[in-house]
């Protein structure tokens, strides 16, 4: 099976410092894949490189076999590679329904349509509403995004990405800052996503990672330390050292 997402020797240098170093990663379709590593290991940098938010200093990114290294962010989104952000990037003054409709419209290629009002694009609105229903956000559909509690805003962060109908969804610490009970609910939602969506996840909470992920890659100092199924990773001495070491430092 061709990997849906693959990198070859991906590197990013800031001056003399390697934020990503020779990362070669391969992710199968339908995978539930977690990226872990201590702070500053280059997890977010990797996602930035994959999605085109950063340009790599060397190496390539392949999406479904196609070289997308030189493509702009939005072009990768069009090809099914979608991400969320560690710190919410939302449309504060739009209602929740508007925000999601915006994302749906972009996917449907309506972004240039300027004559008919948004309200007349019923298919887009219906789809947005449906998505909100799935994510149990219907009750706040007409609220302004900024008026919502943080946990729900975090859901919208994901909703915006899902509205783009990702084939590969990169989640950057989706539960960061969310209270425990809400984060469980959030992960349930993620877990229920259909199998044709490949999920790559960055998460600090090891409980959640081990419950959810089927494969785990460990990053240290920008480089890939190891990659395997959770059971093996859990026993890996080097991984424990990395985490232990960090714990000692902290």
């Amino acid at each position: 099976m061709t990997p849906v997402l693959q990198t070859r020797n991906l590197s990013k240098r800031f001056g003399g410092f390697f934020a990503s170093k020779d990362v070669s990663l391969s992710i199968e379709p339908g995978a539930r894949h977690a990226l872990i590593g201590p702070n500053g290991a280059g997890k977010t940098t990797l996602i930035n490189l994959l999605t085109g938010f950063l340009e790599p200093s060397a190496g390539e990114v392949f999406l479904k076999g196609e070289d997308v290294t030189r493509l702009a962010q939005h072009q990768r989104v069009k090809r099914g590679l979608v991400r969320t952000f560690q710190i919410n990037r939302l449309f504060a003054e739009m209602t929740v329904l508007e925000s999601v409709t915006l994302s749906v419209c972009e996917r449907l290629g309506l972004g240039w349509s300027w004559w008919r009002p948004v309200g007349d694009h019923t298919a887009a609105i219906d789809e947005a509403a449906e998505l909100l229903a799935t994510l149990r956000l219907l009750d706040v559909a007409h609220e302004q995004t900024r008026s919502l509690a943080y946990g729900r805003q975090r859901m919208i962060e994901i909703a915006l990405a899902l509205a783009a109908r990702p084939q590969v969804l990169l989640l950057d610490e989706p539960a960061a800052g969310v209270p425990t009970d809400e984060s469980r609910e959030l992960f349930e939602t993620i877990a229920q996503l259909p199998r044709d969506v490949t999920i790559v996840l960055i998460e600090h909470d090891m409980d959640l990672v081990f419950r959810f992920a089927e494969r785990i890659s460990v990053l240290v100092g920008g480089a890939l330390l190891t990659e395997d199924v959770p059971e093996v990773i859990a026993k890996d001495r080097r991984v424990r050292e990395v985490y232990l070491g960090e714990a000692l430092d902290g």
């Binding site: 972004g111 009002p117 007409h142």
Partner: protein
Amino acid sequence: MTPAKLDLSPLRRAAAWRPAEYAFWLLPVAAFFLFPKSLALLSQIAITALFCLSLDLILGYAGIVSLGHAAFFGLGAYAAGLMAKYGWGDPLLGLAGAAVMAAAAGFLTSFLVLRGTDLTRLMVTLGVSMMLYEAANKLTDFTGGVDGLQGVDIQPVLGMFSFDLYGKTAYWYSVAILFVMFWLARRLVHSPFGLSLRGIRQNVGRMPAIGAPVNARLVAAYTIGAAYAGIAGALLTQTTQFVSLDVMAFSRSAELLLILVLGGTGSLYGALIGTMVFMAAHHFLSDINPQYWQFWLGAALVLIVLFARDGIMGLLRKLSTRARTSS
């Protein structure tokens, strides 16, 4: 599985005309009968309102600050003026020519304002407009330089209504064009394209992550804004039958920014109401006190910023919410 629970009408009908809007557009008709002798001022209010609308499209919706928007206004003004001078005096043709000219310039310069902070954008737009100003000043043979472009001979509107001393034709013509352009802008901001511009303004970092080509959208918005400004400039030329170099001056750009912020950015009516209030205040203050009226205008601005930060539209919104909650 359409969720039956959710009432979608707030979004479905977001673009519907509200009663207050109908009432608003009766104002220009009422003004015609109430102030039949001030039509010259009223026409210029309509023109400035259109100009302000053009800035609102790029600042209020796409979030690009500009201190050089008069460049496009001026290009439109000169385009229409030169066309009329060399025999193409039909007003609507002039508007089209001005729009094309300004849009072309907007398109070319839009690439300069894609990057950078607000301050950088302010200065780049300012620089571009100052260069155009200097160019117009230098090309005396073509533009008339500081003396202004004369011999602007405008034919009757639609071949029927010629521009008269009382400014009736000029008034109806300006208001009609303003209305049509406003109506188009209103469609535009309520469309998915408009929604995407709001998205860019509210969170430019998210837009590419939902698949929107941000730069292309900004280029488009800037070009449209420039075209609007060009049309406003052309209207000024046609209703005054003269182009002065001042149409490109820095003060015009700065004043426009002021008007827009006063009215409230990001709402089309803010641009219109801001213009009405500013121009009326300017007019009355300078009539009462021709030498020192600026002091009162300045004081008013300071008070507005201190006590009504979202502009007039913000104030109106606050008032209407208060009225609703109390009743």
